[in-house]
């Protein structure tokens, strides 16, 4: 068997979002926005688009990410797509604090070698790269202001991201621009989508979530997407979602509540995961590393970590974190704690982006933990439209879990 050529490896499916994005880039479109649902294959699209451009043009290509960790991850994916390469390296990490994957060029390497540059959006902002193509991964985590500064010397931009994710943290009082449809603090793709020269491509499927969850999350997205996930299920817990209602307690990190959350996570350990693909079916037992608990507050995470440590026997290997921290990760089984637990009604608790992240980390099964205050909390939310979307998702989760 001979090794596949780069052209063969970068072959694209007819009618795919990748084909559409590449068509726009090769035709000279200044702005292409690709919006994806959770698990929609964003990184795959970015890596394959970059590899294709690298193989078929002599263009300078820069990939920008919101964080150093994302940069390292996408650099590895791109290198894998490009495959064996004649030069010293095909990908060069250009941000000082970004970990350099094996085989990639580092910031110390001369940039005379033609290579895809990977750097953070902050680094682009400080020193905008002169580049033919600037591709922003996880672009919904970047403000328009940072995009505008970072892309100042880019001929064409491709911004790829999940509009359901938590946006960038903005600490500036932006009320002066509240009446504007395009403002500096807004998420970059939201502003770019309004441009006359922008092309918008919506990815049509999720490869992580099952059909029930895809349907539940639909209110948070402006387009319909379907599940193309392989058929997966837990033998002892049918369906995709179960719900766990807690009594209303005084604080969202009440120890009894958190003990129930830990119990729900431990329920998953040892259950049998069955997967059916065209190649046949297989099964295995879930281990603690297959399970995550996603919460909205650090105090909840601290309490849960302590409880897991107390349990021992590998329970401490269950991943615990806030939605902001676990955004981007995926696990077979996830326990998610409603941010409105115990009647919390801060903006932090009410944002539908946080809800979306929490309800979309599972590949196979989700336990939704809530109490019956959520509807009252959302009824009093200042952003009624967003609260309505959040309510629709919660209703969907409860229906799916009943």
């Amino acid at each position: 068997m001979t090794a596949a050529t780069l052209e063969e490896r970068t072959a694209i499916e007819a009618g795919s979002p990748l084909a559409a994005a590449l068509f726009e880039l090769y035709s000279g479109s200044p702005v292409t926005v690709v919006a994806a649902p959770p698990g929609g294959g964003k990184s795959d699209l970015v890596a394959r688009a970059v590899a294709h451009l690298f193989a078929h043009t002599d263009a300078t290509i820069t990939v920008a990410t919101a964080t150093n960790e994302q940069g390292t991850a996408i650099a590895e994916r791109i290198m894998s797509e490009i495959g064996p390469h004649d030069g010293p390296f095909a990908v060069r990490v250009a941000s000082g604090k970004m970990r350099v994957p094996e085989g990639a060029g580092s910031p110390r390497d001369k940039d005379k070698v033609r290579a895809v540059q990977v750097r953070t959006a902050a680094s682009c902002k400080a020193s905008p790269p002169a580049t033919d193509f600037l591709i922003f991964d996880e672009a919904y985590q970047i403000t328009f202001a940072d995009f505008a500064d970072g892309a100042d010397r880019a001929n064409q931009v491709l911004v790829v991201g999940d509009p359901g994710q938590i946006g960038p943290v903005v600490t500036v009082d932006t009320t002066a621009w509240a009446h504007l449809r395009q403002a500096p603090h807004m998420r970059a793709p939201d502003v770019l989508s309004q441009r006359e020269d922008a092309t918008i491509i919506n990815m049509p499927a999720t490869y992580r979530l099952g059909p029930v969850t895809a349907q539940v999350l639909h209110p948070l997205y402006g387009w319909a997407f379907e599940s193309r996930r392989p058929q997966r299920a837990l033998a002892q817990m049918p369906g995709e979602v179960r719900t766990l209602q807690l009594p209303v307690r005084e604080t969202p990190f009440d120890l009894d509540s958190m003990t129930h959350v830990v119990g729900a996570a431990m329920d998953y350990v040892g259950t049998t995961l069955g997967v059916q693909t065209s190649a046949g079916s297989r099964s295995r037992d879930l281990t603690p590393t297959d399970v995550a608990i996603v919460v909205s507050r650090r105090a909840q995470a601290s309490a849960i970590e302590a409880l897991l440590l107390e349990r021992g026997n590998g329970a401490e290997d269950i991943t615990v974190g806030t939605a902001d921290k676990l955004q981007g990760g995926q696990w077979h089984a996830v326990v998610a704690v409603d941010p409105t637990l115990a009647g919390a009604e801060s903006e932090h608790a009410l944002a539908s982006g946080r809800l979306c992240v929490m309800a979309s980390r599972h590949m196979t099964h989700l336990t939704w933990v809530y109490d019956d205050r959520w509807a009252a909390v959302l009824a009093g939310a200042p952003d009624a439209e967003d609260a309505q979307r959040g309510a629709a998702v919660r209703e969907g989760l409860l229906a799916a879990g009943s």
């Binding site: 694209i12 795919s16 000279g28 400080a126 918008i200 970590e305």
Partner: protein, 450 residues
Amino acid sequence: MHRSDLTEPDPFAEYVGPVVDAASVPGPEPVVAEHISEPRPPAPADIVWADDLGEHTDAAQAEYDALRRAEAQVAGEPVRRTHTPGVPPAISEGEPMPFAFVWVDAATGRVIYRKEHSEPTTPRRLGVLRLRELIDNGFRLVVPDHYTAKRLCRAAAAAAAGDTPEAADAARVDRQLAVASRLSYSISLVVLTEVLRRAYWLPADLDADDPLAWAHAFDPRLRLAGRPYQLMHTLLEAASQGQERSDATTAMFYGELAAIAAARHPGQRARVAAFQGMNRAENAAKVWDTTDLGLIGRNLVTGDVCAVEVTATSARGFTATMSQPFKLRTGHRHVFLAQRGDPAAEAAFVLMGVRATTSGDLIGQFEAVATRRNAGPVPPAVAVAADAMSTGRTLHITEEPYLPFLRSRGEDEEAGRWTRGRSVERVRPRWGMPTDVKVATTQHTRKDTR
């Protein structure tokens, strides 16, 4: 002092001559700080644990503030709250930035102003053109309270919306005031009651929104009612006392300067530049607050500062129990809070991880960062931790201040590719359309042409 009311007539009638302020001639008696208590180091009781706090830090902070103000009431005078000043200092290397005091004249209801150290000493009516001139010439506007600041902003907005020759100037002033009034600590627009609130705990029984109450609290012998300029000057003096923190102050200053300069212009490009300047100023303001030694107790409530008790040291780092809540992040650099000159102020370390014990304690693992400046055999963070362990001293840590780079746009005409309009020219590619892409592009969603 007459407190302005937003329903009053528009104050921006142009200058028609000096407005006599009966008490404008005698020089002010600056308040001396010697009778003002210094901030005290946090007592163990200041360390509020998450379980006691609840998650509602706003409420917990309010409770903490109320406690401090009650203490000030017992003391019978304002108690120093911060080590840094209430008023952010201007650090301009070029022309100095003098103050212009702006207030509402009690007799006429008009907005009037008087420059610091300059003739004439009689206040003048303030109009849009004069306000623009003051801002352009680097004057720092000082107003007594939020009501006056809001009145200025509202009047500028109203004048900008009008159909007068001054509308363009008013729009510019409106944008600049919009920036200054939205910063946590503005150099250009100083609201006295706000900056005093930052610097001192006012006794709980006094109204912190009332400038006269502040003056009375500092010195009941002062008779400043009806003498607005003297009152404002005195209060500004009190609010300006404190130790500077140069890196944050510099960032705050240049951030705001960039934002105010950008706000001279309309449009998306200027808004982006203003936002970035504000962002830098706000980051610096956050650093100003989290690293202020006077605010340690308050910052423990929010978790911006964490109290640690060192339990072990090694050649590379140390282990410590950590107070809750905390906002420290694993993998990030942190620093000790200490007076300048204290070795602890020179040390940096990374939080490697946190583990919980069955008794509910959180144990942090810290690794010292070696710097070129401190390239001795024992990293400074380890030396400080070892000393703290032997003496039983509680250390306070926070995330290392990060002041993002502010890109200078200057007069770069090329800048603003994505902010100059609703579209840019389509690029003429140097390459052809690959066949596989042409073949594969059977359908895609193209945005409707508008």
